[in-house]
C-alpha cells in the first residue's frame, strides 16, 4: 500500500515537472524543471532499493548535466530570455509522434510477461556493481572510457570552432 502511494506521489512530481519543462517558454526555467524531474527519478530508484543508482542520478544528472545545459543556455546568442523556448509550427506532428510512442510503450508494458525476481536486495548494492563491472563487463567498462574521451575531444573541437568564428 505505502509503496504504491509513494510511487504515485513521485510520478505526479515527475510528470508535473516534465510537463512544466516542455511547456515553459523560458529556457532557463526549463533547465531547472528538468533538474527537478531528475530528482524525482532518483526518488523512484530509492523506492526500488537502488540507493547507489539514485545517488548517481543526483550526482550526474542534477549536479553535472543540468549545469552543462545551463551553461549551454548562457552561451547561446539570443534576444529575450523569457521567449527563448517557443513552440513552432510542428506542434501537431510532435503531439502525434509522442502519442504514438506512448501507445506503443504502454502496449508493450501491458502485454509483456513480467518475471519478478526472487532474489533479495543485498545490504550494499555498490559491491556487486563493482564485481560485475570489473569481471563480466570489462569490455563495456573500458569502452565507456573511450566514449567519454570521444565526447570530450569532439566537444572541444566544436567549441574551438565556435571560438574562432566569434
Amino acid at each position: 500500500m505505502m509503496p504504491t502511494i509513494v510511487f504515485g506521489v513521485l510520478s505526479v512530481i515527475i510528470i508535473g515537472f516534465a510537463l512544466a519543462m516542455v511547456l515553459s517558454k523560458n529556457l532557463v526555467h526549463s533547465a531547472i524543471f528538468m533538474a527537478a524531474t531528475f530528482v524525482g527519478v532518483a526518488g523512484i530508484y530509492l523506492t526500488l532499493s537502488a540507493g547507489f543508482l539514485a545517488a548517481v542520478q543526483i550526482l550526474i544528472y542534477v549536479g553535472a548535466i543540468s549545469i552543462l545545459m545551463v551553461f549551454g543556455v548562457m552561451l547561446t546568442r539570443r534576444g529575450d530570455i523569457s521567449a527563448s523556448n517557443l513552440f513552432n509550427k510542428r506542434i501537431i506532428s510532435g503531439v502525434v509522434v509522442s502519442a504514438a510512442l506512448f501507445i506503443i510503450l504502454g502496449r508493450l508494458i501491458l502485454t509483456s510477461e513480467w518475471f519478478p525476481s526472487s532474489f533479495s536486495v543485498p545490504e550494499s548494492t555498490v559491491g556487486p556493481i563493482a564485481d560485475l563491472m570489473m569481471n563480466a563487463y570489462v569490455i563495456p567498462f573500458e569502452t565507456a572510457a573511450l566514449i567519454l574521451l570521444a565526447a570530450m575531444v569532439g566537444a572541444i573541437i566544436l567549441a574551438k570552432g565556435a571560438r574562432r568564428t566569434r
Binding site: 523560458n26 532557463v28 526555467h29 540507493g51 542534477v62 549536479g63 553535472a64 549545469i67 550494499s124
Partner: protein, 349 residues
C-alpha cells in the same frame, strides 16, 4: 557520559513507542526527532560561527571585533538574528520571481541532507546509510545548481557574474574533492561513515593519506566559496555575489547555508580523516566536536591570512595541479596497498 545522547534518544523512543505505534512509524518519528536535534545543533553552531568569525577576523587584523553587547560581545549573535529577521523582505522588480524565491527556499536543503549521515559520536547519526560518503557527494552537488538559480534569478549583473563564477569554481573543485576520498575508501572498503570511523581505531587516515587530506582541505574550501577562493562573492568587485539582492529571511537562508556548509565540511573532514569520535579520556561526541572546531578554526585562519586568488590562477591550479596530484594519489595508494598485501603473503611484514 559517552552514551548520554544515545540514552536520551532511547528515552524518547520509549516515550513514542508508548503511544502504541507500529515499529515503522516509531522509526519515522525518531527520524523527525533527530532531524530537530540536528537542526538545533546546526543553527546554534551557525550563529556561534558568525560571531566567532567576526572575532577571529578582528584578532587577525589587530582590532577587537564585536565586543559591546554582553561579555566579550557574546550577545551579538542574538542581535544578529533579531536584525536579520526584522528587516524588510524585498523582491526586486526586475527579478525572475519564481527562480529568485525558489533558490532561497531550497538552498538550505542539501546542507541539512549532508548532516543526515554524519556520525557525531558512536551510533549518533540520523540514518547510517550504506553509501554514506557517496550520498554526501551527491546531495552536496545540488548546491551548485541552486547557487546558479540565485545568481540568475536576481537579474543583477553582480549576482549573475557571482553565480556563474561560483558554478564554474564549484564544479571544477568537485573533481579533486571527490577523488580525495578514494584513497580512504580503498583502505576501508566501505562507504558507510560509521565503518570508516571504526577503521580509524588505531591510525587516523590523516597519517595514511596526508596528501588526500591536503587536497580535501583546499578543494573543500573552494567548494564552500570561502577565502582565498571567495571570488563568487568578492565584496570589492561583486558586492556580495549571488546573494546581493536577497534580504531578511531569504538572506538569512543563504547566510546560514554558508556557515552550515563550513561546519559540514569540517564534520566530513573529521569523520573521514581525523578519526571521528576516537580519542582518549573524553567522551566520543566531545572529541568529534573539538576536532570539528579545530578544522573550522583552520579554515578561518586561512581565510583571513591569504589574499583572494585570481580566477585564471584558480582554474589553472585546479585542473593542472590538484587534479593530476589527486589521480597520482589514487595510483600510489593502490600500489601501496597491493605491495603491502604482497609483502604480507610472502611473510616479509
Amino acid at each position: 557520559m559517552d552514551n548520554i545522547f544515545i540514552n536520551i534518544a532511547g528515552w524518547i523512543r520509549d516515550f513514542i513507542a508508548g503511544f502504541g505505534l507500529s515499529e515503522g512509524l516509531v522509526y519515522l518519528a525518531m527520524v523527525l526527532v533527530k532531524f530537530v536535534a540536528v537542526l538545533v545543533f546546526v543553527l546554534l553552531n551557525v550563529v556561534f560561527l558568525v560571531y566567532m568569525e567576526r572575532r577571529v577576523a578582528g584578532f587577525f587584523q589587530e582590532r577587537l571585533g564585536p565586543n559591546r553587547v554582553g561579555p566579550q560581545g557574546i550577545f551579538q549573535l542574538v542581535m544578529d538574528i533579531l536584525k536579520l529577521l526584522s528587516k524588510e523582505d524585498i523582491v526586486p522588480a526586475g527579478a525572475d520571481k519564481l527562480v529568485y524565491k525558489t533558490a532561497a527556499y531550497v538552498i538550505f536543503v542539501p546542507t541539512m541532507l549532508v548532516y543526515m549521515v554524519i556520525p557525531f559520536g558512536k551510533g549518533m547519526n540520523v540514518i547510517d546509510l550504506n553509501m554514506g560518503l557517496f550520498y554526501i557527494l551527491a546531495v552536496s552537488s545540488l548546491t551548485t545548481l541552486i547557487i546558479f538559480m540565485a545568481g540568475w534569478g536576481s537579474r543583477n549583473k553582480y549576482s549573475l557574474i557571482g553565480g556563474m563564477r561560483a558554478v564554474a569554481q564549484m564544479v571544477s573543485y568537485e573533481i579533486p574533492f571527490v577523488f580525495s576520498f578514494l584513497g580512504v575508501i580503498m583502505l576501508t572498503g566501505s562507504l558507510k561513515l560509521s565503518t570508516i570511523v571504526e577503521a580509524q581505531q588505531d591510525v587516523w587516515f590523516i597519517v595514511l593519506q596526508p596528501i588526500a587530506f591536503i587536497i580535501f582541505l583546499i578543494a573543500g574550501n573552494a567548494e564552500i566559496n570561502r577565502g582565498p577562493f571567495d571570488l563568487p562573492e568578492g565584496e570589492q568587485e561583486l558586492v556580495a555575489g549571488y546573494h546581493t539582492e536577497y534580504t531578511a529571511g531569504r538572506f538569512a537562508m543563504f547566510y546560514m547555508a554558508e556557515y552550515a556548509n563550513l561546519l559540514a565540511m569540517a564534520a566530513i573532514g573529521t569523520t573521514v580523516f581525523l578519526g571521528g569520535w576516537h580519542g582518549p579520556w573524553l567522551p566520543g561526541w566531545l572529541w568529534f566536536f573539538i576536532k570539528m572546531y579545530i578544522l573550522v578554526f583552520g579554515q578561518m585562519w586561512v581565510r583571513w591570512t591569504f589574499p583572494r586568488i585570481r580566477i585564471d590562477h584558480m582554474m589553472h591550479f585546479n585542473w593542472k595541479v590538484l587534479l593530476p596530484i589527486s589521480l597520482a594519489n589514487i595510483l600510489v595508494t593502490g600500489i601501496g596497498i597491493k605491495a603491502y598485501e604482497m609483502l604480507r603473503t610472502m611473510g616479509w611484514w
